[in-house]
C-alpha cells in the first residue's frame, strides 16, 4: 500500500515536473513534491526524502537524455568554471544536490501545508 503511494508520488512528480519545466522556468520543480506531499499522508521526514529523491531522479533522467551533450566539452568547462576541478562526477553531484534540496524542501512544505490546512490527523 505504502509502496504504491510512493511510486505514484515519484512518477507523478516526474510527469508534473517534466510538463511544467517544458512550458515554464526551471524552479517549477517545486510544484510536484509539494502537491504530492500535500495530498498524500506521509511523515515529515519521508516527505523531504521522497521529494528530494523524485527531483534528483527527474534531473538524472534529463541528464541521461542529454548525455550526448553531457559527455562533450561543455560539461568539463562548467566543472572548471565552478571550483570542481573539471570533474564531471562532481558537477553531476552538485547538480543533483541542488535539485534534491529544492525537491526535499518542497516536500516538507507540502506536509506542513497539509497540517495547516487541517487535512491530517
Amino acid at each position: 500500500m505504502n509502496i504504491i503511494k510512493y511510486l505514484i508520488f515519484i512518477i507523478g512528480t516526474l510527469v508534473v515536473s517534466a510538463l511544467l519545466t517544458y512550458i515554464g522556468p526551471w524552479w517549477l520543480i517545486f510544484v510536484g513534491p509539494l502537491l504530492f506531499a500535500f495530498f498524500f499522508k506521509i511523515s515529515y521526514g519521508k516527505s523531504f526524502l521522497v521529494g528530494a529523491f523524485s527531483i534528483m531522479l527527474f534531473w538524472a533522467i534529463m541528464l541521461l537524455i542529454r548525455s550526448d551533450v553531457f559527455v562533450g566539452s561543455i560539461t568539463e568547462k562548467i566543472a572548471l568554471l565552478l571550483p570542481l576541478r573539471g570533474s564531471r562526477v562532481a558537477l553531476s553531484l552538485v547538480t543533483l544536490v541542488v535539485g534534491g534540496v529544492i525537491g526535499g524542501l518542497a516536500g516538507l512544505n507540502g506536509r506542513s501545508w497539509r497540517r495547516s490546512f487541517g487535512l491530517t490527523q
Binding site: 517544458y22 550526448d68 561543455i74 560539461t75 568547462k77 562548467i78 547538480t95 534540496v101 524542501l105 512544505n109
Partner: protein, 817 residues
C-alpha cells in the same frame, strides 16, 4: 503558533529558489545554470553541426538565401540581393557570436556595470566621458545618409533581431546564464558603437598627460632622450619619390619656447587601448612572384580573445562575391578578397586625440574662456544603471573642442585620489567625434574590381586612419594612408595644450589630395607595419603618432631580396621571429658583460645570450634571457625618471637601444635618485645579476624557453586574469614578440593571418586563433587556436555557385522568406 512551521518552510523554499536563481558575487545562478532543463546543456548551438540540409523560415527576407558551411563552419552565403545577404550575415553573426557582440558594444557604450556591477563603473565612465556614445550617434547620422550603408545596416540589424527573436531564456548562450542577464534588441546604433570600439582601439591611444608630466618635471633635454621624435625614419611606408612636391608649408607653427615648458598636469591614471594595436601588411607585384600575379598579405595585431574579433564569411550576390573576415556587430567584409582584388589594412598610428586645458568661469561649468570671451558649454547627463546598486548619474560638459573628460567629478582610474590640489579641467579633441561613415568603404571594397574602385571606396574613410593596401589580379598594387587627419605644425599635440584660445587648436584637416599614397612602385612591393608613413622632412604636416620601425624594416629587408616569391615565402615572413632590436644591441651587451666575472650559474646564462641566434623561436632560451635582461635594464635606467614624473610612461624598447648606441653613458643611465653616478656598465651588471635567480626559477619549472616563459594565451572576453582554463586557451607555447614580424605577445598578436594570391582562380590562405562559434562547448569554438599556434594556415575556400554539390560542404541551410 500552529502555522509557524508552515510559514517558515514556505519562506525557506522561496528563499532557496531565489538564491539558486541569482548570481552570488562571482558564483553564477546554480539552479538556472545547472538544471538539465534550462541550463548549460540546453544551448541549441551545442547540438553539434546538423550535417545535411535544413530549412529555416525567416520573416524579413525578400527571397530565399542558401548558406553552405564548410569544415570550419565558415558560411558561404548565396543571396539574390544585398538586403538578404546582410540580413543573413546579421542572423549568422548573432547565432554564432551574440554574446560577444553585445558585450563589446556594452563596453563601448559604457554599460558594462549593468551586467557585472560596480566594478566596471570606472571603465564605463571613461568611455562615456570620452564621448564614445556621442561619437557613435554622430557617425550613425552620417551613415544613415548613405543609401548603401543605410540599406546594409537596416538589413543587418533586422537579421540579428530575427535570431534574437527565436531565443527563449533557456536557449541563451552560456555567458548570459553565467552572468545572469538577457540580450536586448540590436540597433543600428550598436553597429555604430562597434565601429567606435574599433576606433578607440586603433586611434584612441594617447600619451599627452604622461609626456607632459615628463617634460614638466625633467625638462626638454631628458624628454627628447626618452621620447625622441623620429627625425631619422628608417624605411617609411611611402618613400620620398612618391610624395608630390607640396607648395609652401601652410601650417605655421605658433608656439614659442614656453610650449616645451608646460605646467605639470593633474596626475590622472587612464584606461587606454593597447599601444601595440597595429599590424603588418604587404603586397608584391607580379614582377616579384612565382606566378607572375600579385600576392597580398595582412595580419592585424589586436588583443587575442575568445570569441575572436573576426568572423570568416563569404558573401555572394549577382553583383559580387567576396571572402574575408567580418566583425560581428557590423555588416560587410573588412579584410579579404574577391576574384579581382584583395584588400587589407594596418593602423596608421597617427595622433588624432589631443587634450586641452579648460578654464571655467565658475563652479557651474556653464561657461569657459575662449579667445577672450565666455563661451557656453552644453551638457549631457550620463546615467549608469548598476547591477545590484543604485543608479548613478554623471554630468559631462561639452566645449567646442569636445567633452571635458576630466573634471573634479572624474579623475580616471584612481578616481578618489585627488593627489594634486589644483584640480584642472581637460577637454578632448578626438577625430572620432566628427561625423563619419565608417562602414561604406568596406562595403565598396567588397565589390571593387580595380584600382579606381579602390580609390573611390577608400576616399570616404576618415577615422581611425589606416594604411589600406590593395592588389588586383590585373597587376596593380597600392597602399594609402587613408584618413582625415588634422593638419598640424611640428610638435602640435605632443603635450596637453592650453584651451583658452584658438592658438593651439587644429587649424584644419589635411586635404584628401595630400593624403599619402603609392601605386606600382618600381621596387615591386608596398608594405606597412606601423612605421612612419613618410620622412618627416618631406611632408609638410606634422606626423605625430606612436610609430615603430622594427617590423617594417625587417619586412622590407626581406621583400627587397625576394624574387619569384611563393606562398611559402609569405608564410615564412608572417611567421618570422628575427629580433632586430637584439641584433642591434646584443653585441654591446656581451662586450660589456664580458668584462665581469660571474658565478657558474650566471655564466651559463651569459653564454646562452652570447650563442643565441637572435630568433625569438618558442624553443629559444636566449630570447628569454635577453627579454628579462632588457626589462630589468629598462627599469633601472628609466625608473628614476618615471618615478620623478609620477605618471610618465615607459619609453619604447628601441629608444633605449638607439640612445645606448649613440652614447653608452647617456644622461638617463645614471639613477638620479641615488647620490652616486651609475654607469652603463654598473647598471647592466646589476640588471644581469638581478635576473639570475628569476632564470633559475624558470629553469626549475621548465619555463626557460621563450614560448613556455611567454605563456601566450587566448583568454575569453570575461577572463580578466587570463587564467580560466574553462573558457580560455592558455599556455600555447608560441614564439615571436614585440618588435618582431611575428608580433605575438602574451595575449596580443596576429588576430588574423591572410595570404591572397591573385591568380585565376584566386587562391588564399588564412587562420585566426579562435573558432567561428562563440559558444563554449561547440566543436567550432576554438578550431584555429592549435594550427595558429603552430604557424599553420588553412586553405580558404572561395566557393563558386557551381560547387553547391561539393563534399567540402558539411551543412546546407536554406533561409526562406
Amino acid at each position: 503558533m500552529k502555522h509557524l512551521g508552515t510559514i517558515l518552510s514556505g519562506i525557506s523554499l522561496l528563499i532557496l529558489i531565489i538564491l539558486f536563481n541569482s548570481k552570488w558575487g562571482s558564483i553564477p545562478p546554480l539552479g538556472k545554470l545547472l538544471s538539465p532543463t534550462h541550463g548549460y546543456l540546453i544551448d541549441p548551438e551545442l547540438q553539434g553541426i546538423q550535417s545535411g540540409f535544413s530549412m529555416v523560415e525567416l520573416g524579413g527576407l525578400k527571397d530565399s538565401v542558401q548558406v553552405y558551411f564548410d569544415d570550419r563552419m565558415v558560411p558561404h552565403i548565396f543571396a539574390s540581393n544585398d538586403e538578404d545577404a546582410y540580413f543573413v550575415q546579421g542572423y549568422l553573426h548573432a547565432r554564432d557570436r551574440l554574446w560577444q557582440m553585445e558585450f563589446q558594444t556594452h563596453f563601448a557604450a559604457g554599460r558594462l556595470s549593468e551586467i557585472v556591477g560596480e566594478k566596471a563603473l570606472v571603465v564605463d565612465r571613461t568611455n562615456r566621458r570620452l564621448g564614445m556614445v556621442y561619437a557613435a550617434e554622430k557617425s550613425l547620422e552620417e551613415m544613415e545618409k548613405d543609401t548603401l550603408t543605410f540599406l546594409a545596416m537596416n538589413a543587418y540589424t533586422a537579421g540579428v533581431n530575427s535570431y534574437i527573436g527565436t531565443l527563449e531564456e533557456k536557449d541563451l548562450p552560456l555567458e548570459y546564464k553565467i552572468l545572469d542577464y538577457q540580450p536586448e534588441p540590436w540597433s543600428n546604433l550598436k553597429s555604430a558603437l562597434l565601429s567606435k570600439y574599433m576606433a578607440k582601439d586603433l586611434a584612441g591611444y594617447d600619451d599627452d598627460f604622461e609626456r607632459t608630466a615628463v617634460i614638466a618635471t625633467m625638462g626638454k633635454e631628458i624628454f627628447d632622450l626618452m621620447y625622441p621624435n623620429r627625425e631619422d625614419s628608417l624605411d617609411p611606408i611611402i618613400p620620398k619619390a612618391f610624395i608630390p612636391p607640396f607648395g609652401k608649408l601652410t601650417i605655421q607653427a605658433v608656439h614659442d619656447s614656453s610650449y616645451f615648458h608646460p605646467p605639470m598636469p593633474d596626475l590622472i591614471e587612464r584606461e587606454k587601448p593597447d599601444k601595440a594595436n597595429g599590424s603588418n601588411n604587404w603586397a608584391l607585384a607580379g614582377s616579384k612572384t612565382m606566378t607572375g600575379r600579385p600576392i597580398l598579405c595582412n595580419d592585424p595585431h589586436l588583443k587575442l580573445r575568445l570569441p575572436s574579433i573576426w568572423y570568416e564569411i563569404q558573401i555572394t550576390t549577382p553583383e559580387y562575391s567576396c571572402y574575408g573576415v567580418s566583425i560581428p556587430g557590423a555588416p560587410g567584409i573588412l579584410i579579404g578578397f574577391n576574384e579581382y582584388v584583395a584588400f587589407g589594412s594596418t593602423n596608421a598610428m597617427r595622433d588624432v586625440m589631443d587634450y586641452y586645458e579648460i578654464t571655467f568661469r565658475d563652479k557651474s561649468k556653464s561657461q569657459y574662456l575662449y579667445n577672450g570671451r565666455w563661451e557656453s558649454t552644453s551638457s549631457r547627463i550620463e546615467t549608469y544603471v548598476i547591477r545590484d546598486a543604485k543608479t548613478q548619474a554623471d554630468t559631462v560638459f561639452y566645449t567646442h573642442f569636445g567633452p571635458v573628460v576630466y573634471d573634479e567629478n572624474f579623475r580616471g582610474l584612481k578616481n578618489d585620489h585627488l593627489r594634486s590640489n589644483a584640480g584642472k579641467f581637460y577637454a578632448v579633441r578626438w577625430k572620432a567625434h566628427d561625423p563619419s561613415n565608417d562602414i561604406v568603404s568596406f562595403l565598396l571594397l567588397d565589390r571593387a574590381k580595380n584600382y579606381d574602385d579602390y580609390r573611390k571606396a577608400i576616399a570616404r574613410f576618415s577615422c581611425p586612419g589606416q594604411n589600406l593596401i590593395f592588389a588586383s589580379a590585373s597587376g596593380d598594387i597600392a597602399i594609402t594612408q587613408q584618413g582625415v587627419f588634422p593638419a598640424k605644425w611640428r610638435y602640435q599635440g605632443e603635450f596637453i595644450m592650453e584651451g583658452k584660445d584658438s592658438l593651439y587648436e587644429w587649424q584644419g584637416m589635411i586635404p584628401q589630395d595630400q593624403v599619402l599614397t603609392m601605386k606600382n612602385p618600381e621596387r615591386g612591393f608596398v608594405s606597412s607595419a606601423n612605421q612612419l608613413p613618410a620622412d618627416p622632412k618631406e611632408y609638410p604636416y606634422f606626423l605625430g603618432g606612436d610609430y615603430v620601425y622594427e617590423r617594417g624594416y625587417r619586412i622590407n629587408q626581406i621583400l627587397r631580396k625576394l624574387q619569384k616569391a611563393t606562398v611559402q615565402d609569405m608564410i615564412d615572413l608572417q611567421n618570422d621571429n628575427f629580433n632586430i632590436r637584439a641584433h642591434q644591441i646584443r653585441g654591446l651587451l656581451i662586450e660589456t658583460l664580458k668584462k665581469r666575472n660571474f658565478t657558474n650559474e650566471a655564466d651559463s646564462y651569459f653564454h646562452i645570450l652570447e650563442r643565441w641566434n637572435l630568433y625569438n623561436d618558442s624553443a629559444s632560451e636566449g630570447a628569454t634571457v635577453y627579454s628579462l635582461l632588457m626589462d630589468s635594464l629598462e627599469q633601472r635606467i628609466w625608473g628614476d625618471e618615471l618615478k620623478k614624473s609620477q605618471i610618465g610612461s615607459m619609453p619604447e624598447h628601441s629608444t633605449l637601444i638607439q640612445n645606448l648606441l649613440r652614447n653608452i653613458n647617456f644622461a638617463c643611465v645614471d639613477n638620479v635618485l641615488t647620490p652616486q653616478v651609475e654607469t652603463f656598465d654598473e647598471q647592466l651588471s646589476a640588471a644581469f645579476l638581478s635576473i639570475v635567480p628569476v632564470l633559475d626559477e624558470l629553469k626549475k619549472v621548465g619555463r626557460l624557453t621563450w614560448g613556455k616563459y611567454k605563456q601566450t594565451c587566448v583568454p575569453h572576453l570575461m577572463d580578466i586574469k587570463q587564467n580560466m582554463s574553462s573558457l580560455s586557451r592558455l599556455d600555447l607555447n608560441v614564439g615571436g614578440g614585440d618588435g618582431i614580424v611575428n608580433a605575438t605577445k602574451k595575449s596580443h598578436g596576429p588576430s588574423w593571418k591572410m595570404i591572397v594570391s591573385l591568380t585565376s582562380p584566386v587562391e588564399a590562405w588564412g587562420v585566426y586563433p579562435g573558432g567561428q562559434s562563440g559558444h563554449p562547448g561547440n566543436p567550432y569554438y576554438d578550431t584555429g587556436v592549435g594550427p595558429w599556434s603552430e604557424g599553420k594556415y588553412f586553405k580558404l575556400w572561395f566557393m563558386k555557385p557551381f560547387e553547391k554539390g561539393s563534399d567540402k560542404i558539411i551543412q546546407t541551410l536554406v533561409f526562406k522568406p
